[in-house]
Amino acid sequence: MRNNTQASVSSILFRRNLLRFLANLFCFLVAIMAFYPFFVMVISASHDNFNIMSKINVLPGTKLVENYQRLTRNINIFSGIKNSLFLSVCVTLVETYFAVMAAYAFSKFQFRFRNFLFGVVLVFMMLPGQIGIIGFYKEVQAMHLMNSYLPLIVPSIANCFAVFFYKQYMDTSLPSELIEAAIIDGCREIDIFHRLVVPIMRPAMVTQAVLTFIGTWNSYLNPLILLNDKSKFTLTLLIATVRDATHADYGAQYLGMVISVIPTIVIYCFGSKTIMEKITVGAAVKG
């Protein structure tokens, strides 16, 4: 009797451990598949074309410097990084500042058409972004702003999702009493915004800013149609031309890809926690 129970307990334990092992193994295999393209990219960046084309490479090769020289001879990757950095920083700053400002008005003020205007924000948040792209292009052309960063930066002031996100955060985390106290103390409106609202909103601003930065860094279609001067190309545009510029030079191509990934990975290392939180908050808000 006692042996029986022991046997069944151990068989249950065995089955449970087996299941757990299989689950771990499955997760591990998926992780390997998810990582494999990165692996190929990084390893191949240091091989020459012959090695890449003819066999499976597991160890780094010796041709990194040559690949780098051929890559930079064809495209100026650092001008791309510089342009992308400039654009992403500008967009992030401008969007964050003005979106928090608009959200502050929607959250803490009473004015006519408030609900109507916020409804407009919500509707445009849902609209597919590419619907007006042809009109946008023609408009920019008519304004003689082609090849300028302005039409890539200024429209980010009207980021509907950011306004919605900040208003949501403000409704719960910015007590109205605090603002009233500041008014009674004779603080000017603009000082209330800069000295009270902005500091309290900082955590939300960091999260949204990280995502905006990565989004701008990765954007392709808008720079593609608006910029045609190579010296103004963003990194994504330059990377997209790598294939044509280097023909079938896979070593240089892979190296270009690796360089394009590094900046986002650096940002992610600093902001991974906030990104995860933001996505979760987004899901909870929508849910």
Binding site: V30, I52, F98, A105, Y220, T236, V242, M257, M276
Partner: protein
Amino acid sequence: MNTKKRGRTAYLYILPFFLVFLIFKLYPILYTFVLSFCNMDLLSGDLTFVKLANYKRVLNSPFFYRSIGNTLLIWIMSIIPQLTLAFFLAMLMSNRWLRGRAIFRNVYFFPNLVTSVTIGLLFGALFSYPGGAINSIISALGLKAVDFQNRPMLARMVIAIAICWKNFGFNIIYFTAGINSISDEVLEAARIDGANAWQTTMKVTIPLMRPILIYVMVTSIIGGLQMFDESKLVFTSVPGDATTTMIKYMYDSAFVRSQFGYGAACAYVIFVIIMIFSAISMFITREKKR
């Protein structure tokens, strides 16, 4: 404190937002609508009103219908494995006994950080013929190398894999948030009532995650039907334009063939299609009335 005066400050605060909104968001959308009823003279830029001619052309164009078909095929091939895998992994990773959950989550999320341009080039190179990394593996297994680019269905599949690879980790985070929001008491109650793991998942977890599932479905429909970067970049030329998506078709019409009026009409037809699909998905996943 003067409420009326404060209201005036509010207008100042929303002024930059709505000024830019009117100029760079609303106006382009309306202007595109106007353009869709016109033909534009390339040299002078003059518009001639052509009524519904552009829409008629779009709706009679076999190429446009093909691009819809391509988009749907690629989308279905990427969305089904993507959501299944993400849901399954999220369920597994909600178990405390799973080792290295934080590492797994980061590794799964990693592809989402890569620029879609880089993803396009990367998958183009991985699946290139005959010397791509995937073909190296196929050859090592003793099989014949596959020319992915020149076989329409395989070319679509490569793009679907690329999108799946990019997004499944992102969806895991959504699903994990959904699973975490289910209270332990409910799951405990199901266990006490004698439900096994499968029953708990089907009858408790999934119904309770409905809002998240709807959200993920709708956003991936809106995002998936707007596929562009991967379509343009993975393969440069595929026979029969098998990987040309709707947005790619619109882009080619307007910015490659310079038919802006026609492209604008495409944009609005695509918009209607996306709306229809979002409505269908909301209808399917709606709360059933008792």
